[in-house]
């Protein structure tokens, strides 16, 4: 077999050159960062104009990870979409699973048993810890501090071992079902979570020793990327980024779901809304999450881990499928046509590690959503870049992007 090599000149070099000359004449330089660049934590692309070392214009370009999740959702049953939620914010898949499940449950009006809610709160908070551990570590690395990353990554690895034991997978967990969770917690798992939670504060303290009062780190982050309270609200910030700007909004407190009202925890609030504040908020949120986890474990309810009614939605019990006619038919209908969800529309937001992850579902009845919109926190948190970045130095870009802690899988959907 013979093969032919074709030389491809990607992009129009002549027009690019002309652009660069025009920019040079005006004393400015055009700089393109990404879509494949370590700073951008994925595939974000920034088109910037520089005047010397100062950024005068910044235009984010998205869509390099666009997979059409919303179109796919309109073409598959409610149950089949659960694995796709793993791939939104792939650093906290468990929290996404829970958000999606609760949204559909609101549409069907299912009441969940206490044990199921407790398991969900537990996995959501563990997901938050794991996401913030990575966020903090990588943020330190963006600012030039390698060591904290080693501590946080080691701890995160222990968490992933726990996730694996619970769900069977480290990353793509697909743990929730509509009306419950896939399986009960394994024997002794709670003790191992407790053990992890007892040891984590030591690692967090180490990270704090390395970063929080570190002169270089403070110099690089303090006063950089400041977002005022008004801007944070106007641009639709949510989650830790919003709270760093001094807005007291945490959906776990404001609009509790899955039994969050039963637990006692504090919501850290920032003052300046700069990169340093966003780092401090995440550190404190990890400690508060540990508080919630301890409360959940100390009073873990017994009972079922799925709603009795939900068998009509995800699957009848396996042994019944094999022996009883009615359950066999039911299972066949669920697999072929999907669960029968009543018509209506619902919007549900959960307080995820990155911000408020919302699902807006329009159902016309039947097993497939008519329209499913994913309101991704990373998408909304990035829209402020155009306004926030100009005026900063080029070297601040890494710190600003690191502090916003976004995930492109969720942003582009």
């Amino acid at each position: 077999m013979s093969s032919e090599t074709i030389e491809v000149n990607v992009g129009d070099a002549v027009s690019r050159g002309a652009d660069a000359t025009a920019k040079a004449d005006s004393g400015k330089m055009a700089l393109n960062v990404g879509p494949s660049h370590p700073t951008t934590h994925g595939v974000l692309r920034l088109m910037m104009d520089l005047d010397g070392d100062v950024i005068t214009r910044c235009e984010p370009v998205l869509g390099y990870l666009h997979r059409g999740d919303e179109k796919i959702a309109e073409n598959m049953t409610y149950n089949q979409f659960v694995p796709y939620t793993d791939r939104l914010d792939y650093l906290s898949p468990l929290a996404n699973n829970v958000a999606y499940a609760i949204a559909v449950e609101k549409l069907t009006g299912l009441e969940l048993p206490e044990r199921c809610e407790a398991i969900r709160v537990l996995v959501c908070e563990l997901a938050r810890v794991s996401s913030h551990l990575l966020g903090m570590g990588v943020f330190g690395m963006d600012a030039g501090a390698w060591t904290p990353f080693m501590y946080t990554f080691t701890e995160r690895e222990k968490l992933y071992t726990l996730f694996e034991e619970l769900t069977g997978a480290r990353f793509t967990t697909s743990y929730t079902r509509i009306g419950g969770v896939a399986r009960d917690i394994p024997d002794g798992w709670l003790d191992r979570v407790s053990h992890f939670c007892d040891n984590l504060p030591k690692a967090i303290d180490e990270v704090e020793k390395l970063l929080t009062r570190n002169r270089i780190f403070i110099d690089r982050t303090e006063g950089i990327g400041e977002v005022s309270q008004e801007d944070a609200i106007a641009y639709g910030f949510t989650g830790p980024n919003l709270r760093a700007s001094g807005v007291d909004l945490d959906l776990r407190k404001d609009k509790p779901y899955s039994g969050y009202e039963k637990y006692d925890f504090d919501v850290p609030i920032g003052t300046r809304g700069d990169c340093y504040d966003r780092y401090l908020i995440r550190i404190e949120e990890v400690r508060q999450s540990l508080r919630i986890i301890k409360q959940v474990i100390s009073d873990f309810p017994s009972g079922l881990w799925y709603a009795e009614d939900a068998k009509k939605i995800f699957a009848p019990p396996k042994e019944k499928i094999l022996t009883s006619m009615e359950e066999l038919i039911q299972n066949f209908m669920i697999v072929t046509e999907g669960p029968q969800i009543p018509a209506g529309e619902v919007y549900f937001e959960a307080e995820n590690p990155k911000g408020a992850l919302g699902f807006y579902i329009v159902s016309k009845g039947g097993g497939v959503p008519y329209r499913l919109k994913i309101r991704a926190p990373s998408f909304c948190n990035l829209s402020i870049l155009e306004k926030m970045v100009p005026g900063h130095m080029l070297s601040d870009i890494t710190v600003i992007l690191g502090s916003l802690d976004f995930v492109m899988g969720e942003c582009d959907r």
Binding site: I6, V8, G11, L62, G63, H66, K106, A234, K255, S383
Partner: protein, 206 residues
């Protein structure tokens, strides 16, 4: 939570607004001409200062009003969401007033709705595609756009010229969504690699 008085005050103040049946949060119907006035009132007088989501729905090619825009607001005082439904007048070239001057957060959401549904947001500061590339010719979330996609030229003309490559529809046969319409079930269904036999041809004896 939002009480009845609040709902009544909005309905009295704006004659174009009607309440629709809702399961989770207060849902208002509003025409596209007065939507900005209503939002301005909700933002400044009623503390709905967070626009959490803006999106569109395609009601199908044959619907009387094909596109509608859905806006979700959140109030930190009421601790509740509010949903505004609004119909885009023109089915062929749907247009809607941009609310990005009231809520800067709407800027990207509107670009996304334009990208996916082809709704033009009048007076939008920077209305261009956000997820698809700039000269992509279709609107993917419209109901008449096939799941597999449509063959489209590559975004980079010079590369396409040399390679003769294009963006192709996804191979759906045997994928997770569709079983194909082959004559034999075993050809239509996804299955393991052993394809040496079907209902019609005997499994070879080894």
């Amino acid at each position: 939570m939002i009480d009845q008085d609040f709902t009544d005050s909005i309905l009295v103040k704006f004659s174009s607004v009607t309440k629709r049946h809702h399961d989770d949060c207060l849902t208002l119907d509003c025409d596209s001409i007065s939507v900005k006035d209503v939002l301005l009132h909700l933002r400044d007088e009623e503390t709905f200062d967070l626009l959490v989501d803006l999106t569109a729905i395609d009601h199908g090619e044959h619907a009387d009003n094909r596109f509608s825009v859905v806006i979700h607001l959140y109030s930190r005082i009421h601790h509740d969401y509010l949903r505004v439904h609004s119909i885009c007048e023109n089915n062929e070239q749907p247009a809607f007033p941009s609310v990005s001057d009231l809520y800067p957060a709407a800027n990207w959401h509107e670009r996304e709705a334009f990208d996916m549904f082809g709704i033009r947001f009048n007076d939008h500061p920077n209305l261009k595609r956000i997820l698809m590339w700039d000269d992509y010719p279709y609107y993917p979330l419209r109901k008449d756009f096939p799941l597999a996609g449509i063959e489209t030229p590559l975004p980079a003309d010079d590369v396409a010229e040399v390679t003769q490559a294009s963006v192709d529809p996804a191979p759906m046969m045997g994928g997770p969504f569709v079983s194909g319409t082959g004559d034999n079930m075993s050809e239509a269904e996804p299955r393991a690699k052993d394809e040496s036999w079907t209902e019609d041809t005997e499994k070879p004896v080894l």
